[in-house]
């Protein structure tokens, strides 16, 4: 049963559009799935390989702009951005990895944070190519209703899920975790840590980039502040994984579901909408102090906590 759980969930999701959900519900679902993809990719690099990135907006944005620039400069369908960004983001990750992967721990984290900001500033200032702060508007939208967008992101998510599952259970997965646990030990056991960290970064970057390219197609508008956002992309990505559970298969899904629903819920309360970052910040602090391994990773602990509260209340 447990083995087939991913397939069962996939099947249930696949029939959802048929039963006629509202456009808003479809939108939420698409967002949840898109964020799960980004969360999974971050989890591969951060959770399994131990390289905590504060700059996943860089990959998301480069992917989004790959699709956007294809449309605005080359007059091609932005859908070509999905396959093309595999190459573009992989190259970008290689260059970036060459610089940031020399660093360890918090310094890696900060260097990636800086890389995201550099990309945002570059996109803002390189007006000829990116359109600067005006952004890029896709005027010819492919579909009006959400169904096909839903299926496309669902397929991306399913492929990502199975690929990462395969990867984590393979030699590569062992190497990633070994690097996370102790880089010096890993290196002295014959693991080329630089190479494998670069591989993790590239795979993670490309997946996030694909999500970015999808975002361009789906939303129809991008600008540097949206796609290279520090808080609304990079930090939210970390939060999704932290809340869901670091280094767990299901963590990013649980995290994405909670974060997207929470964001929508807070936005819907009059007068509190602007405070969503305060809520996120407090949630992050609470999670780190009480459930450092997330809802999935600390599920037993969570059950205990809830149980205790019931017993005492």
């Amino acid at each position: 049963m447990k083995r087939y759980l991913p397939l069962i969930i996939l099947a249930i999701l696949a029939v959802l559009p048929v039963i006629g959900l509202s456009t808003y519900m479809m939108h939420i679902l698409i967002l949840v799935i898109m964020w799960s993809v980004i969360g999974m990719s971050w989890n591969l690099l951060g959770g399994y390989c131990g390289q905590v990135s504060f700059g996943h907006a860089a990959y998301f944005g480069v992917g989004a702009y790959t699709a956007g620039v294809l449309y605005s400069k080359f007059d091609l369908s932005p859908w070509w951005g999905l396959p093309l960004c595999v190459v573009v983001v992989a190259l970008f990750s290689l260059v970036l990895g060459f610089i940031v992967l020399r660093l360890r721990g918090p310094f890696f984290a900060l260097a990636t944070l800086a890389s995201g900001e550099v990309m945002r500033i570059t996109a803002e200032n390189w007006v000829d190519f990116t359109g600067g702060t005006m952004g890029i508007l896709i005027q010819r939208r492919t579909w009006v209703e959400k169904t096909w967008y839903f299926y496309i992101i669902l397929i991306i998510a399913a492929l990502t899920f199975f690929m990462i599952k395969k990867l984590v259970e393979s030699k590569l997965g062992y190497y990633f975790v070994a690097i996370r646990e102790d880089q010096d030990a890993a290196e002295s056991l014959g693991i080329n840590t630089t190479l494998y960290k670069t591989i993790a970064l590239c795979i993670s970057g490309v997946i996030t980039g694909i999500a970015g390219a999808f975002y361009t197609n789906y939303m129809g508008y991008i600008d540097p502040h949206v796609v290279f956002a520090l808080h609304d992309i990079s930090i939210i990505t970390i939060m999704i994984v932290m809340v869901g559970g670091v280094a767990t298969f299901w963590g990013p899904y649980v995290g994405a579901l909670i974060m997207v629903l929470l964001a929508e819920y807070i936005r819907s309360i009059p007068g509190l909408g602007a405070a969503h970052q305060t809520f996120f910040g407090i949630l992050l602090i609470v999670i780190i102090i009480f459930l450092p391994n997330g809802i999935v990773g600390d599920f037993q602990k969570l059950k205990r906590l809830v149980g205790l509260r019931r017993a005492s209340g």
Binding site: A109, A274, L284
Partner: protein, 309 residues
């Protein structure tokens, strides 16, 4: 070079040095915290923002000059820093988790809350503090009538710079001469040895976070007369502080001062010769070049000199 070009160059250099002096103060706070606790405080810029709002309201409500507010905002920030360390960061140091970066992520959370609360309370408006000396300046021709070139020195920039230098010197004195300062340095150098020598490491961590927050609070007051104030300005100053820390060498105070000056001059030059919008990119170019070619920062050069190698 024509005299105009020389003028522009010198003016840019001066502006860069003045900016660098203030940057150094921001970097000092972060480098101290990093040295003692080995964590990066990603809420550093947000703490500065908080100090700036304190000084701003002191000015608007009670007409207290921002420079006087140093004596109000710095102690408040010191207490805030102590509270953050004691009640949020210390508990996380004890929590078992997969990622050691949890502490860094925690400071991100703190920064998010601070920035967002500021937006809620004060709206995201850009505010400037209308001190009456805001546009005053010293001119070279006032002192030297026949000077072939003209240079100006903004009064608030100069005053801020002087304050920054005074605070930096006091900090150096504190670290070098007082018992608490020496204990902090011992903790930074070798926590285990410091523990064995009877240093109260736990207390030093709390005090250091307080001092770091206080320093950046003072820097906030110094920035207020010369800079716009808005709730989300923290992020960029956190990055600046971090770049300075890398540039100067982790945990090195002298390195942070030199790093701050280098960064100030470099940014000023980028703004003049490449374009205003690119100044932040210049910041990261320095950062990347430093990571690749000088991983130990300025401190590693100083160290080599001292050992005669």
């Amino acid at each position: 070079m024509t005299s105009v070009q020389i003028e522009v160059f010198l003016q840019t250099l001066i502006a860069g040095l003045l900016l660098g002096g203030l940057y150094a103060l921001i970097g000092l706070g972060m480098t101290l915290i990093m040295g003692v606790m080995k964590i990066i405080n990603l809420a550093h810029g947000e703490l500065m923002m908080v100090a700036m709002y304190i000084a701003y309201w002191m000015f608007v409500l009670f007409h207290i000059d921002p420079y006087l507010s140093i004596f109000i905002a710095t102690p408040i920030l010191f207490l805030i820093g102590i509270a953050l360390q004691k009640f949020l960061i210390n508990p996380v140091l004890k929590v078992e988790s997969i990622l050691p970066e949890n502490q860094v992520i925690l400071t991100v959370g703190i920064g998010m809350v601070l920035a967002n609360l500021a937006t809620l309370f004060f709206k995201s408006d850009y505010r400037s503090t209308p001190v009456d000396y805001a546009t005053n300046a010293f001119y070279l021709s006032d002192f030297w009538k026949t000077s072939p070139i003209e240079l100006s020195l903004s009064v608030p920039w100069t005053v801020s710079f002087v304050f920054a230098v005074i605070i930096t010197i006091s900090l150096w004195f504190f670290l070098a001469k007082t018992d608490t300062g020496k204990s902090i340095r011992a903790t930074a150098q070798d926590t285990d040895a410091a523990l064995l020598m009877g240093v109260n490491v736990k207390l030093m961590r709390v005090v250091t976070f307080g001092i770091g927050a206080g320093l950046v609070g003072a820097a906030g007051c110094l920035f207020l007369p010369i800079y716009y104030l808005f709730p989300s300005l923290g992020g960029q100053f956190t990055l600046i502080a971090f770049v300075i820390t890398i540039l100067g060498g982790l945990g090195s105070t002298i390195g942070a001062i030199i790093g701050g000056l280098i960064l100030g001059v470099f940014e000023s030059m980028t703004a003049t010769y490449v374009g205003m919008g690119w100044a932040p990119v210049g910041r990261f170019v320095i950062f990347v070049v430093c990571l690749i070619f000088l991983p130990g920062g300025v401190a590693s050069i100083l160290k080599r000199k001292r050992l005669g190698k």
